[in-house]
Structure formats: structure tokens, C-alpha cells
Subunit: 296 residues, 2 copies
Amino acid sequence: MFDLKKYFDEKRDQINICLDELLSSSTNSTRIASAMKYSLMAGGKRLRPVLCLASAEAVCGNSDNIIREACALEMIHTYSLIHDDLPSMDNDDLRRGKPTCHIAFDEATAILAGDALLTLAFQILSSPETMSENNSSKHLDIVNRVSVAAGYQGMIQGQMDDIEAEGKQLSFDDLEKLHRLKTGVLIEASVCTGAVLGGAETEKVENLQSYAENIGLAFQVTDDILNVEGDPEIMGKSAGTDMERGKMTYPSLIGIDKSKKLAEKLVNNALDVISHFDHRADPLRSIAQYILHRKR
Amino acid sequence: MFDLKKYFDEKRDQINICLDELLSSSTNSTRIASAMKYSLMAGGKRLRPVLCLASAEAVCGNSDNIIREACALEMIHTYSLIHDDLPSMDNDDLRRGKPTCHIAFDEATAILAGDALLTLAFQILSSPETMSENNSSKHLDIVNRVSVAAGYQGMIQGQMDDIEAEGKQLSFDDLEKLHRLKTGVLIEASVCTGAVLGGAETEKVENLQSYAENIGLAFQVTDDILNVEGDPEIMGKSAGTDMERGKMTYPSLIGIDKSKKLAEKLVNNALDVISHFDHRADPLRSIAQYILHRKR
């Protein structure tokens, strides 16, 4: 039986140490660096970088060599959270129980800290220090995949769709498209980053991208389910908030039972598409299972 | 006598056509793409992309092959203007006589349009379509230079310094540092992009970077001088606004005569450092001269 908790804890420690180093290596006394660090170290799950590392391992690559690249993905995720929380967007004062960046600092600093994390991610992905061998074409491929995923036809369009969807009735397809863009494409890019840098051939990269697409959607479906029937004590956040905000969710659209069946189907799809991978893909399998059974 | 106006007009046309294509190639009907295009096509001077192209030519490179990369630099410049104009930053309603992005659209859209232009720039710099030959290591070098220049130890720190400097007395060195970060480093990166992609050896890249550092500062000094004694009719914007805002400028710090001498010295430095380049560096020489004598 694969011990996912142990795996996640170990990887998370590695990632946190590396994130800390990446921001401390320079003038970390500036206000902007403090704001970047504040949001980056606010206790995220590190799902994207862990998926990146696990994906490299699944194709027999060395995950220790690509920690910095994995951290770059977490920076892009954090930048998107900082900007999403801004007053002109979701206007959230709290995230993971802590004041959001624009509350802890101020709005201008938060906007710039987000900009800076996005830019630093590309700096890391292209840094001569990040290269372990002569693999610049792979890194350029990653820069391209990540920028497409994070860009105006990916994550940014997802946030636009989310803003425009407020208080509106969406179709099942629209909701799926919104989630795929808002969170799915960056999860896919994270898995592909690990696969490409781990040395996978094209077909395996595609298998892993499909795995990621399915678990990305599954994660969103279970997020919506937990918001209805999760235990606020375990989750560390209130339940029922989506309904209060008039947010479209899978349970509100297709009901709670069909939502659970959908999550199960998506996770099974994810497992199927990597069924021919050997035991080194066990972390990825275990993450898929976890998404289905998570309590927070 | 080199005809700079003709040169600039031709390059600007090429750049504008390419920018238009880069944003039209896809779903340009979305609100986010409209906002990106609105700000990108609002009539900028295109100084950064023209410098990039002129720099490639100065080292005997082909500038036609790197128009897309030059356009990526203009996108980063435009993103920085959109975010600088936001209510929580400089709170400007007008830029070049047109409503700023957050006025023409809304604040959330403006923040995301800025994010999207920054991200698209990296997408273009890493795009397989941008590669004219097998030059991925050069492009990765460019991604790295540009991200360092635009990042939290470059342009973003410059904007932080600018916000913090409001109403404060700065030393000459502080003012120079502020300008170098806020506008200089991206100008340097633009010139280096042209030089590297044009095939320059390291020493010439460094010469051109030094040229760029000098003209970047000279540009800022003459900007400050024009704000004092420029003709609002010719400039298309009001004079005296810096003083009204209590903004630190070179004339307020060292007087108008010393400011003019400083601009002259910086331009001469720029010309000196490329004096061993042949006639193909004439556009760069002419741009340096123009900065000294410009009326707007």
C-alpha cells in the first residue's frame, strides 16, 4: 500500500525549502519580496509542484533535479490567487484563514507581488542555474506550455469567465469549460512539465496530460461536494459558501449523487489512461484516489 | 544623413502589423483580448521594439526575423502601463489622450489584460513559430534576460520605488536607480534581445547594453526637461504636471541647465560605447541623437 501522506509530506518539505531559497537568495528585505513570500508561504497544499515531481518519477525521471521548475508552477498558482482575491475581483479578505495579500500589505503591493511571482516563474524556468544538462529546448518547451496555460486563452480566460458567470445559470459544458480553464490547464501544465523534463516520449506526455485533465476536473467536482457536505472543522473553512454567493456548482447543477458519480468516473478515466505505467506511477494513482476520498 | 523618421515609420508599421496579427490569430472576440488590443494599439512610440530591431541590425543580424520577439517587448511595456495606471497605483484616467484600460473596460479586466500581455510575451518568446532556426538556447537566454528585467528586482521594484517616492525628497543616486529600474532595464533588455538574436558575441552585447543604459537614462532626463519647458501643443500632453504632483525630477533636483548637460553627457556616453560599430549602427546613433533633441 502506497503511503501518500508520507510522500506528500516529504515532497512538500522539499518544495517549501526550495521556495524559501528562491526568494531568499536576493534582496528579501524589500516590501515586494516580503509580499511575495507572505503569499507563497501561506500554507498551500503544493498540489501542482507535487504533481510535477510525481509525473517526472512516473516516466522514470529524477524528480530531485526539477524542484525549482516545480516551484515555478506554485508561484504561478500563487500569483493567480493573489490577483483573484483583489477587491475588483473576488474581494476576499481571507485565504486559508490568513489575511489576503492586499489586506496584509495593500492593493498596489498585492498587484505587483502577483506580477512579480508570475515573472519570477519564467525567470526560474529559463535560468541557467535551473539547467542540469544541456536541455534548453526542453525548458523552452516548458516556458511555452506554461505561458499558454496561464495566458489569455487559458487560466486568465477562466478567471474572466468566472467573473462573468456570477449570478448566471451555466450549462454543464460551460461549467466544465470554466473549471478546465481556471484551474485545469495549469494542473495539466504542471504534470506535463514533470513528464517532459523527466524525459517522456510524446505519447506518455499525452497520457499524463489526459490524466491531469481528468483529475483537475475531479478535484473541482469534489471541491463543490465538500462545500455542500464537508465538515468545516476538518476543512478549516466554512461550508455552504458557494450557495450563499450564488456560485454555480456541480451539485447545484446536477445534484449531489450525480456529482459523486461524475467525480468517480473522472478519477477512473485518469487511472485508465496511465494503467500501462509501472509502479513508479503509484504516487499519481494515489493522488487520483485521494481526490475522490478527501475530506478537505 | 540618416533619415530616422523614415526608419521609425517603417519599423513602426511592421511592428503594428505584427502586433495585430499576434492578437488576431485567435479568439479576438473575447473581452480580455479586446482589452489587450485596446491598450496595445493605443498609439505607443514603439521605442522598445524599434531599439530591438535596430540593435539586431547593428550587429549585422536580420531584423525581419525577430519582429515577433520585438513585439513581445512592447507587450511587456504595455502591461506595465496598464497596471501603473490602476486606481491603486497612479490612478490615471487618460493615457495618450485616450481613456486608460480600467476606464475603457473595468478594473478587473485591466488587471487581467495586463497579466495576459505579460504572459503572452513569454509565450511568443518561447513559441516554436518564433524560432527561425535551431536557436532555442538563444531564446531561453532572452526569456531569462527579459524576466529578470521585468521582475521584482527590475521593473516591478522600480514601480514600488516610484510609489514609495511620492512626496519624498530623493538623492540623485536614488532618482537614477528608480529610473533605471522603472524604465531602463526593459530598454536594456530590448536592445540585448536584438543583439543576442542578431548573433552578436558577448562583448558587443555588453557594448549595446551600455548604450541602452545611457539612452534609457537620457530619455528620462529629457522627459523631465520637456515636462518643464516643452510645448503642450507639440507634446500632446500638459506641461508642468510633475511639479503639480510633487514628483521628483532631474530639473527639480539639479536645475534645468545641469539636467541638459547630463542628458548630453549620457547620449555622448551611448555614442562612445558603440563608436567602433560600422554604419549599420547608424539607426542606434540617430535614436540617441533624437533623444537629446526631441520636442515631444
